[in-house]
Symmetry: D4
Subunit: 150 residues, 8 copies
């Protein structure tokens, strides 16, 4: 059984963060798919993409009044990771993603932290995939060695 | 031809702000309707309420990651006024409503400023309603006198 | 009957945001006029421009302690849209425009969001102009296609 | 196979948020365990609790320089949810949990949002538990009805 | 020759700060006058009060998008002191008063600091009034003793 | 009788703001003097410069935990203008200058607003100097014309 | 050889934080002394208290534009701990104490964290006092047990 | 008896701040050692480095959710200085280091202020080292002369 991650970017201009997600995911045996869909400009597309998706985990990437992750979460009970994108204010996208109302959780990661969004999604998928779990351990071990330059 | 204002509260707990809106609107000859609908908990309800509404202006009231006004705006090209509701952070609801992405405008008013949301909606409606325009002038005159206690 | 939009920039240095407004308005059949007038340096000019204007909607653009939109609103009961201009602090112009006191509403849009200010003004004018309403729908449809690159 | 959630409170004074987590979890068929352990006062206890835990998902609750969720994440590759607790500053606990460095993700939820932390954890566990998945759907449906008071 | 201070409150609800100003001024031989006038609700009144005033120094007191001090400054080249009034956000009134654009200075004092606004005004007036200058020295000496409880 | 302005920069690195002050003062018939003195590195120098100065108004320029203006004010009952200098945080220097405790007022102007600090100082001095008062009026008139490009 | 800690409160109103410091210090064999002295109202007193003190470590407690710790540090090369006191803004006292300019360090602790200021001072003194070092270890052990309620 | 300072950088990318620390320490007769160790990526390494260190003072340097200084402090009762590193938000690392919970103090210095961290560490060590104490006095005197350019 394969786990799948569905990435939605709020705008093509968020692709630098999208690339960080993909570059991280590529280091794991995991399927993913990326779409561009705006919570504000194409709300129906967000809804249909989410409802028709067979993904196990969603990642929403958005800046400003970053509604996309919350909008994804509104249409699914699958876990949704939200990545705030940096801009002129930064507290806007961070707070718009973190401060979700009761009942509809979003898992916020740090500003522009596509890498961590990917890792969090892999951690979630690894709960039912031993191979992924092992790859995660190796990834972290590699990271440890990088800190100290060994 | 009658102008109509459709108020959506993100939650019943936003009713204090809702009351401010209604108390202000009651001073004008204008039709209004109030519904509770959450952008995150009932996104389809927001969509259908907005698409089926014959309102000229919408007012969305929400706290935290206040997505409701933007969510209304995503489903209409009618003017949408957004009222951030106060809480423990305040910058969250303000920025979530003000910092809308390009293409989908929301008219943000101040924190808990249901009164100003109502007045802005009336100002918009008054553009094609001479009676309302006159009532607005009288309202402002009364307000002026109140400042100085005359 | 023609709707008209009157744009006031607080300073010539705000012209980049002014250009965004005009470039957006040019895509609609709507009259507009642009003036430079400072709430602090030329308050009488703001007053006379506003009082003598036959505009249906005003747009005020200002940075720092961005008083211009509120100053316009003080002299009219027509709808006023306020655009905060970015600088070294950003929360200054945003809060100065959003946090208007009770009784004098301003419709705040996002930081440097001249495009959304224009769209909001067009949305307001479209309430009594079927042609504009249709152009807005087409504009949004075009925007939708642009999101997905169709 | 049973999924398990391990809740760590940074201090006994965080128990109000802990109660929100438990009250939410009790509505689902899911095992959980709660411990108090401080990242700063009892770092070894955090490490041993995490390393010896057979939990599938961790929830860390902390205020101020809320290091606990990140500290848990440092000792596991299981998903970690972080709940910032409110205080005199609020941006401190929010940013301390959201702004994790690359490589060690934490899933931040909103200020004092124990309920959403629980739901996010359940969503994650539900990926390999059909019964939980069904309970989540029912929970959300109930929530929808509550919004509109039906 | 007598120096005069003219205090303008943006709203009657700012009278607690107004009282602090007056209580401080009463300790000095200086004339003052207090009016309520709103930059947004009664802009013409602000203008006429300022232009017809024979005050040497103005003090403007306002909360939220605290435009009053800047509005006074727009109509005079006499020194204007601005007092931000506390509310739900606080950074709004502080930044709205401090971040004045080039050319129109306002002397901002701290949040709700009516006392300091009064002292600053007295300091300014004392430049051409030896008696006031002496009273200021005595006031400060008294304050010094109060710190240490002598 | 000549009025004098004494400018203190907290560091040589604040000289860009110092230049703005001087360039503005040069347009008026007013004496000024500039010194570099740090509230933290040379507190005794600040004290002696202030106590030995025959200035009518002081201007303190400082960034970060901008203590200089308050430190000047601690040693004189002459009016003190404070200019926060921009850096990586900005709210630090603004709040450090605005939020003075009761009893020791500082007149804060905007971030890097050396020009407004100079104008405020001139406004204060103009209270007992008709020529300066006239120059201020002319300056403002020139500024007005510049806004509109006349 | 006895280590000594000298506590300075910026105002009598900071005594709640002062009490936290003293209550913590009382648990250690260490001499301390407390004075009230304001950086702004009694700068000379701060200077003389510091210069005449035989303390090994200073603790400065202040709110608002909390200049006291920096002011102490300006007069000594002994370690100075700074405690920001909470108020209506909080970021003011925190940033005023943390953001010291190069050359004059202050050791900032958290908002109202008199307890941590005391502990930090004791840690510093314990470097040349084995008994204190042992007491610190015991204090921390007791704290550890308190976390888990053992 | 020689005092020793142990510097830990959270990441190699923090080396610019590390260099500031070292360049400052080099001006004093004091031993130091620098390691890279991440509170999140290599928590065990932080623990063992701290526990095996014979340093008198630790300096932790970190950005984002800057947990490193607190993490060091969790494993020692020696004084720990924390340096927040600048990034896209800045308030994140500042608050994560300043707002430590009761019982585990960290001495926070300003953003990127490696120089002050070094000086604070030297001040602490100088309490039992007359030579260092003298060097500190000379350093400060040199600094004083640099302010005024003598």
């Amino acid at each position: 059984m394969n786990m799948k991650i569905h990435i939605l970017l709020g705008s093509k201009s968020d692709s630098a963060v999208g690339d960080k997600i993909i570059n991280t995911l590529k280091q794991f045996d995991i399927e993913y798919k990326l779409d561009v869909a705006s919570a504000h400009r194409t709300p129906d597309r967000v809804k249909s993409l989410v409802e028709e998706s067979d993904a196990d985990v969603f990642i929403g990437v958005a800046g400003l009044a970053a509604a996309l992750p919350g909008s994804i979460a509104a249409h699914t009970t699958k876990p949704v990771v939200g990545v705030p994108v940096s801009g002129k204010v930064n507290l806007d996208s961070i707070l718009s993603i973190v401060q979700m109302p009761p009942g509809i959780p979003v898992a916020a990661v740090g500003l522009d932290r596509g890498d961590n969004a990917a890792l969090l999604a892999v951690e979630i998928c690894a709960l039912k995939d031993q191979k992924l779990a092992k790859q995660l351990e190796e990834y972290r071990e590699k990271m440890r060695r990088k800190v100290t330059g060994d």
